[in-house]
């Protein structure tokens, strides 16, 4: 009898708890619904439509008159000649440009960011001021920094040519943004200038979480600082560093505004985003441009998925 009672009591308690839990889960979905609806309308639906338009011959002049043409925007052979995004040398040029830009700029940003973070982590007078100064490039809108650098890199009146000529590093002015040899480097330079502070601050946050006693021990043992950096600091900040690099790389793959403003539609620097927009808006080929945009989306999606799977990202962590 007592046994039955107590079992009954426990059952009741469990019932109550699951009532409360299911009420909380119901309110969770209610709370999420505005966000889900908005994201479905402004992100999900346009994305699906873009993918669909990639299979049609849609034109910007009249979007209502579209016919399904299958994979013809991607690849089609006509009289023995191949057409479509996948065989367009301009598209592959844009893919190559974007990958090259991503690898070089993110590598440089990581190295400089690490360097600046280590400097900012040292004790010195006026650290607050320096930290503020370093944030300025990050705070300037991309379009503005592109224009500012465009002016500094001007082939005739640019201050950079002037300075380099005075020092004697170059013998004649360089047309930085127009010369095919330097255009991509100009873009990379501006991007590195603008984004290194972001990297430095993320790395600095990682550095400041490191325990001080390890360094004390290393100092007492007389270990060389360079060795301490490679054997202690780098392994400890590696997780934070990897996340920062991945975020930057995904961001770099979709670059548009800097390249568009600094070098417009020049083929020397054209990125995948610039290519897709040019097809969509300038050439009015919505179907073809959507196909290119879909390919870019696929590339980024695959990379995001791989990263999320590889990294031990704790997404459903419970509150502490």
């Amino acid at each position: 009898m007592t046994l039955a009672l107590s079992a009954n009591g426990a059952g009741n308690k469990r019932m109550q708890k699951s009532d409360l839990t299911s009420a909380r889960i119901r309110s969770a979905w209610l709370f999420l619904s505005p966000m889900l609806i908005v994201l479905a309308v402004v992100a999900g639906w346009p994305l699906l439509r873009t993918i669909w338009l990639g299979f049609t011959d849609a034109n910007l002049t009249d979007l209502s008159q579209t016919t399904f043409i299958g994979l013809e925007n991607y690849y089609v052979t006509f009289d023995g000649e191949a057409y479509g995004v996948l065989v367009d040398p301009d598209w592959w040029n844009a893919v190559w440009n974007t990958l090259w830009f991503t690898v070089v700029s993110v590598s440089l940003e990581t190295i400089f960011g690490l360097f600046i973070a280590l400097v900012l982590n040292a004790e010195f007078k006026g650290r607050g001021f320096v930290r503020a100064a370093v944030l300025i490039p990050w705070a300037i809108p991309t379009v503005v920094s592109a224009q500012m650098w465009g002016w500094m890199l001007h082939d005739q009146f640019g201050v950079l040519n002037e300075i380099l000529l005075t020092i004697g590093l170059i013998s004649q002015p360089i047309a930085w943004t127009a010369d095919p040899d330097t255009a991509m480097w100009a873009v990379i330079m501006v991007d590195v200038w603008k984004t290194t502070p972001f990297m430095a601050l993320l790395i600095l946050a990682g550095l400041q979480m490191l325990p001080g006693d390890i360094y004390e021990a290393a100092r007492v043992d007389g270990v060389h600082p360079v060795r301490v950096f490679f054997k202690v600091t780098l392994p400890l900040i590696k997780p934070a560093l990897m996340v920062a690099i991945v975020f930057r790389a995904l961001d770099a793959l979709r670059i548009f505004d800097l390249i568009y403003v600094l070098t417009s539609n020049s083929s020397d620097t054209m990125s995948m985003s610039v290519y897709a927009r040019q097809q969509l808006v300038d050439f009015q080929e919505v179907g073809y441009g959507s196909a290119a945009a879909t390919l870019l989306f696929l590339i980024v999606a695959v990379m995001t998925t791989l990263t999320l799977m590889a990294g031990n990202v704790k997404l459903s962590e419970d509150p502490r």
């Binding site: 909380r24 889960i25 709370f31 999420l32 966000m35 994201l39 402004v42 992100a43 639906w45 994305l47 439509r49 873009t50 338009l53 979007l63 320096v130 503020a132 100064a133 370093v134 944030l135 300025i136 490039p137 705070a139 300037i140 809108p141 991309t142 379009v143 503005v144 920094s145 500012m148 002016w151 500094m152 005739q156 009146f157 300075i163 502070p197 601050l201 993320l202 946050a205 934070a240 996340v243 961001d251 979709r254 548009f256 505004d257 568009y260 995948m272 927009r277 969509l280 945009a293 879909t294 870019l296 999606a301 995001t304 999320l308 997404l315 459903s316 962590e317 419970d318 509150p319 502490r320």
Partner: protein, 279 residues
Amino acid sequence: MNQRTKRIIQQTVLYALIACVVILSVFPFYYAILSSFREGTALFSSSILPEIGTLGNYVSVFTEGPFGTNILNSVLVATAVVCLSLFIAVTASYALARISFRGRGLLLMTILSVSMFPQVAILSGMFELIRALGVYNSLLGLIIPNTVLTLPFTVWVLTTFMRELPKELEEAALVDGASSWVIVRRVFLPLMWPALVTTGLLAFIAAWNEFLFALTFTLSNEVRTVPVAIALMSGASEFELPWGNIMAASVIVTVPIVVLVLVFQRKIVAGLTAGAVKG
């Protein structure tokens, strides 16, 4: 070499490095300010020393185009987008951070992916949607697409923040039988003001800088936002860009953002780390 000289050399090298970093960071903006006060042939002097300049560029940037309207457009669009995102994100992030339900991990991953996916991937679908809603070339037609940029980010950062708060906070309220809505409003909202300010500021900067949508979904000068106006400024001839005006416009829109960033420096760094490192 004794300890003392070694120390002095170390200090000198450190300060020299710091000086280089500061000069490289600040110089382009400094030079833009210098150029904005130069007119006519003085603009082409490329001297890096300041002199007594003119305000001519600042006057002509407002008289030659609707730059005042462009600033107003940017402020309206960014403010609307931030308010909308924060409003929707508060309840969503409570659900994502404090209630465990099936599919939460997947949902968070989807939100993160949306904030990572390339804007150009939704360009044609969004164009069609905006045409269908009849808001092409209007401010509303800029607010809608900008939400894609700010909403996932806002939800993500607020979720990270909410997760850090102690569990005891809501347990007491739950025992008292408070509903989830009451818990959000009475328990969490008062604690969240610092996080809301930081997230709001970062979202504002993102919306203020947005270029691709603003370029594609507007047609007339009066509806353009600041970045598009600055990017498309042109002079009397195709080959003669009004660099003085461009620099003046750049300085006008950058100074408020730089001031904001410097004032909220610590909060911004904290918000960025929550948004990226914890991810």
